[in-house]
């Protein structure tokens, strides 16, 4: 919502600089100068045709309006960005040439002017006209130039403002999403439900799960609002999550974790893998009756970290029954978070690498955490 508002405000400035405004301003100025001359001439007790004055001044300023509009329309951004050095070296001669050209056109339009003078050749009329009007032309050109520059500054200022507020909104959203992800309600209540169900059949197992669950919660709370955490901390969380799932699946799922040692300190968005793992269990491994495989791999690829999650479930069957509410919502959330954190410098893919083997693969830029994220160990008797 706020984005479109910002765009609208930005474009009002551009729409203000349209040809009608240029021509209107030209006509108005022409009329004002015509009136001024008419009054002057009347004061000197001469008679003059007002229509002729209006036409002469009108054409003069309408020509300038046209020139200015063309300059704005086709060279506006260039004029706004040009350095002061080039403004003097290139634009000063250009402004003189342009003024001369404008006068030449104007003189062509009014062969009978100037009045009260013996008839002159075309070039002498142009020279006569230039002597009176060259300075005016230059003033008009440079006024327009500074106006364009001003408009440019204003526009950039507004753009910066808009970008800043957009970033703020994005940050707030990211924070909200991260909080939601940190305490994923889906995961929270599913676990509580499992514990509740275990309590009826196996108090010991319920106890174990409750302990694991409180450890997970403790970690979540300690992290607080941290958005990026070390891969080591992320994997610790995932190991605990997988240990809990292992209880549910009765050890049927073989779990494999391979992390390259130099990636322990790599920064990743907190809980970026948990929804992927949950998805692997829910939509893949839970349909398998025998043994299954869940493999997590973290590899360094040039300046990127690749995280792979492979499951040997039932493959990507589009006709498999799924509840529309929850299906893939977690994965969409993962993609959103990756995009918010890294823009286009990341990737997400889900594919069937072999029948019944689904691979979710993400890459993100490699950043290492600088300060130690964990208290060092204490030694003692």
């Amino acid at each position: 919502m706020r984005d479109s508002e910002q765009n609208k405000r930005g474009s009002t400035l551009l729409s203000f600089m349209n040809p009608a405004v240029f021509l209107g301003t030209g006509a108005l100025l022409g009329a004002v100068f015509a009136l001024q001359e008419w009054v002057e001439v009347r004061q000197m007790s001469h008679h003059i045709n007002f229509t002729l004055l209006l036409a002469a001044w009108g054409v003069q300023y309408l020509l300038w309006a046209l020139i200015c509009w063309v300059l704005w329309r086709f060279f506006g951004t260039k004029l706004q960005r040009i350095s002061w050095f080039w403004a003097i070296v290139a634009l000063l001669p250009f402004s003189i040439l342009l003024s001369v050209a404008e006068e030449m056109v104007w003189v062509l339009c009014f062969p009978n002017l100037p009045l009260w003078m013996p008839h002159m050749e075309y070039w002498s009329r142009v020279l006569f006209q230039l002597r009176a009007e060259l300075a005016d032309g230059l003033v008009i050109f440079w006024c327009a130039f500074f106006l364009f520059r001003g408009a440019g500054y204003y526009q950039r200022f507004r753009e910066k403002e808009a970008a800043a507020s957009k970033l703020e909104v994005q940050l707030a959203n990211a924070r909200l999403n991260a909080m939601r992800a940190n305490l994923n309600p889906h995961f929270l209540f599913n676990t509580l439900n499992s514990i509740s169900s275990l309590m009826r059949s196996d108090v010991r197992a319920a106890d174990v799960m409750l302990e694991q669950f409180s450890s997970l919660l403790r970690i979540c709370l300690e992290r607080g609002e941290a958005q990026l955490i070390s891969l080591r901390d992320e994997m610790e969380f995932n190991e605990m999550y997988m240990a809990m799932q292992d209880k549910r699946f009765d050890g049927r799922i073989c779990q494999e974790i391979l992390v390259q040692p130099e990636l322990h300190d790599a920064l990743v968005p907190a809980m970026i893998l948990q929804p992927i793992l949950e998805n692997a269990y829910r939509h893949g491994l839970s349909y398998v009756s025998g043994t299954g495989l869940l493999k997590i791999e973290a590899r360094k690829e040039n300046a990127h970290v690749r995280l792979n999650v492979l499951n040997s479930g039932i493959g990507l069957n589009p006709e498999r029954p799924s509840d529309p509410d929850n299906h893939n919502l977690g994965l969409v959330n993962v993609q959103d978070r990756l995009r918010l954190h890294y823009g286009e410098n990341q990737s997400f893919s889900i594919s069937e690498v072999a029948p019944t083997r689904v691979l979710v693969s993400i890459t993100l830029p490699l950043q290492l955490c600088e300060n130690s994220p964990q208290l060092l160990a204490e030694y003692g008797a």
């Binding site: 322990h264 130690s372 160990a377 030694y379 003692g380």
Partner: protein
């Protein structure tokens, strides 16, 4: 039998721990208390060997109980296992030589581990040497008996004797015990300094072994030396460390 007192201000917490302790054959429950003053009184009267102590109770906190008990040098200090929902006191617990630190909720397996550790501590205290000399020995011995760190949302007071071997992974070390491994952000060199060289040996730039668990040292046909642990784990060994382990092997 270990005479034991449990102190917790919550009825349900006491109830759960009591039930769990009933399953532990060696524990003999001699009293329960709900406040720090009650606890002090009960401990002074019963002189238990083991005290399960909740840190936040009505009145003062659990560390005051420990301090007041230690004011009397003749009083036999019970071995303490702290029980709490909060992990912020672990280091203080470590400093007062607690046997363990249980984060609620805990499982009976975790409780068993705590009781085992407490039993070891009680046995070592009951040895004929007076407490003063053992403290003196501890002061003279610069090596760690335990390492405390956080892992998987728990506080671990890991006795170094339970470590099988330690591997370096860049800025981290992987500490391997019988059933688990812990990844700790600690340079292997710093860890090596803290370990008694009589018990632990650096066999490679990136590994340290607990000599108690070494089964044999073998030279492969390729000329490479490997250390083989009791559980079959093989660790490659640098030539420069070869003489040290040979020496150790001939002495044992």
């Amino acid at each position: 039998m270990i005479p034991t007192i449990l102190a917790d201000d919550e009825l349900l917490a006491r109830q759960k721990l009591r039930q769990m302790l009933l399953d532990e054959g060696e524990i003999q429950l001699v009293g329960e208390s709900a406040t720090t003053s009650e606890t002090l009184e009960l401990v002074r009267q019963q002189k238990p060997d083991l005290l399960f102590l909740d840190i936040r109770m009505h009145g003062k906190d659990a560390f005051d109980v420990v301090r007041e008990l230690s004011l009397d040098p003749d009083f036999p200090m019970p071995t303490i296992v702290f029980t709490t929902a909060h992990d912020g006191y672990a280091l203080r617990a470590f400093e007062v030589h607690a046997a363990d630190y249980l984060l609620k909720p805990f499982t009976s397996e975790r409780l068993k581990v705590a009781i085992r550790r407490a039993t070891l501590q009680i046995q070592s205290r009951q040895k004929p040497q007076p407490a003063i000399s053992s403290q003196g020995a501890a002061a003279n011995n610069p090596y760690a008996n335990r390492i405390v760190f956080k892992s998987r949302g728990r506080i671990l007071f890991l006795p170094v004797s339970s470590i099988r071997w330690i591997g370096a992974e860049e800025n981290y070390v992987r500490i391997c015990t019988e059933g688990e491994s812990y990844l700790l952000r600690e340079p292997i060199g710093r860890l090596e300094e803290k370990l008694d060289p009589q018990l632990f040996l650096r066999v490679h730039r990136s590994s340290i072994v607990n000599l108690q668990f070494v089964k044999e040292v073998r030279t492969e046909s390729s000329g490479e030396s490997v250390v083989i642990l009791m559980n079959g784990q093989r660790l490659s060994m640098s030539r420069s460390y070869r003489s040290r382990i040979n020496e150790w092997l001939t002495h044992n």
